[in-house]
Symmetry: none
């Protein structure tokens, strides 16, 4: 066995481990999307895999930890998009549009991850999915960065970032409720809104 390992640095064990980890993450994503973070239980997650309950704890110490892993994953996939938008942008308008567009398209893709239809009985809690939370922070940083690089007027960047984030979240949610959802239209709306909004806010400063 040790010999085999010598020839096969990523052995069965390693592959199984990675597969198990992935299975848990995948199940967790689905479960979080369906039940919300709070309502979801570790049992729900492992029930969504073929693994035994104890196995969960070989990979994650708690529900919280899976959640963070998912967030990291979401961030890892979304960050490059944002960064690309930032690098590509020659005008602030273009940056804004690319960023919003990336976000709304990301939302659309994410929505399709949890195969079963979302359970709509979540009365008043906005349980952001792990990915959205990761994005949240990334968006904020991007906006502050843009402001610093002179692309955006130097207004109250904290309020600006929050305004954009709140706007993106709510407009994104509204977009998802439409049939069919049109991420590009939503991005155009948000871009135009924010672009002029900033001017107004700047004058007000």
């Amino acid at each position: 066995m040790s010999e085999a390992a010598a020839f096969e640095p990523i052995g069965k064990r390693e592959r199984a481990k990675a597969a198990n980890r992935d299975a848990i993450l995948k199940a967790a994503r689905r479960v979080f999307a369906q039940l919300g973070y709070e309502a979801a239980t570790v049992r729900d997650i492992i029930r969504g895999t073929e693994l035994a309950s104890g196995t969960f704890y070989n990979y994650f110490r708690s529900k919280e930890e899976v959640f963070e892993a998912l967030s990291d994953d979401g961030a890892r996939r979304f960050k490059p998009l944002l960064r690309a938008a930032r690098e590509r942008a020659e005008t602030f308008e273009q940056y804004l549009h690319d960023a919003f567009s990336a976000y709304f398209h990301f939302l659309l893709e994410e929505r399709n991850v949890g195969e079963r239809p979302l359970d709509e009985r979540q009365p008043h809690v906005r349980t952001d999915t792990p990915e959205m939370i990761a994005i949240y922070e990334e968006v904020r940083l991007s906006l502050e960065d843009a402001a610093m690089r002179g692309l955006a007027p130097r207004i109250d960047s904290d309020y600006l970032a929050h305004a954009c984030i709140g706007l993106a979240q709510e407009v994104g949610a509204a977009m998802l409720r439409r049939t069919p959802p049109d991420a590009d239209a939503a991005a155009r709306f948000a871009t135009a809104f924010v672009l002029r909004g900033i001017e107004g806010a700047a004058r007000n400063d």
Copy 2:
């Protein structure tokens, strides 16, 4: 005391009942704000009072019901402010400013209700407080009403409403984190942002 009783034939019982109900509501407000609706338990709420566990059920049938009571309460106190803003407004700008101002001041007042800020780490769930949820709908209706009355340009009013709400929420939360929080400044920011933002979005339509 006997004199007071002549004018106010309210016995100890009634007073105790009202006090208990208030204590539960107050504790619930705090608990919901700190842990989020989903994570909060009925026991968390009663633990936040001096009452026994069974007493909770003399006043509310469930966590849901306290939540609704809080929402109603919040709505009852906030709606008049919004309505006044609507009636008083001669320009859309004035309406927006009054509404945002009312909202941000409302947030400030609310914040001071839950005295001891037990445990500030709200991990990943953005639980809107009951009051905010009640307000949420009211704000949306106000905006649509304003649009219909011709005060606001006739753009995608659904996206507009959501944009304003998201913006107000996030900017409001950011405001609360500042020391000292300045509701008027936040209202000016939001008003100017939205006023011009709408123009941009309208042109984009």
Copy 3:
């Protein structure tokens, strides 16, 4: 007030007290019949009256105690019937028949006390109503008395009494399930069965 009491030895108070007690007993009978002794709660009983919960404890110390009061009541009404049968009887057959007949008719009457239809979801527990338990003992004593007075053969009177009681209970229950229930037919069946049964058992001794 004390004067009034002098002229009116059974004053309003006393009448109210008796009425309350009766109201509780009546409600209890209904509740026990519908839910069974175990499932019934003191709250169920007081809910069946116009009284407040605390008032219950002015009359009875517990559910157990109401139950006993009901038993006593049942016994008080059934005992005379049995005694009459005993005194009237010239033959053992006649005694048996009168006793069974009294019992089955008693069952029929009792059944009509709980106005609402019985809740049939009582899977495997034979919760005898308080009255039946009282009767139980009375029947047993009557039979032993009859044996002692020479009306019945002197066989194992303990077994005999139990045989009759078990028989009466089950046949009575079966009778109640028939439409229409015929107490007289059941009494004839039981009488004939027991009369000859005893002979067999006696010979066997």
Copy 4:
């Protein structure tokens, strides 16, 4: 131990599981007998074992389910006895005697299962043990079968079955209270009683 394992590939886990299940069933039997089905709580049952409360739910979903398991168990052990009696019987008398004898002996065995007789006061509820209920139906069917096969006179078989069952229950209970209990004597009494009783009832038809 390794040898035994070769013949019996049952690990500690399996043995522990079986032992736990048995412990729960044993405790449940005792608790049901002592408190009655309705009054018994799941906690009473687990308190009667060395297990933790949650463990109960690894084996049974509810009190009801343990009860059914006990019933099945009782029936499984008693039914063959009854069937044997039925097949072996050449006369109705023989059948009756074998059946009663089987029943009374069964009661005796059962009684010895629940070791510590915790709390003998069963206030007013005649809870049949799960086993008796299972038997109940079997007895009834046996009697109807006997009647159909011509072994018993064709009288009101419903009343007959109930008469026998009630009689067997009460006489059985009385037998258990005697020291020492004599199942054979009880069976003789019951057989003789029923045999002649039927004749009486038949004539009465």
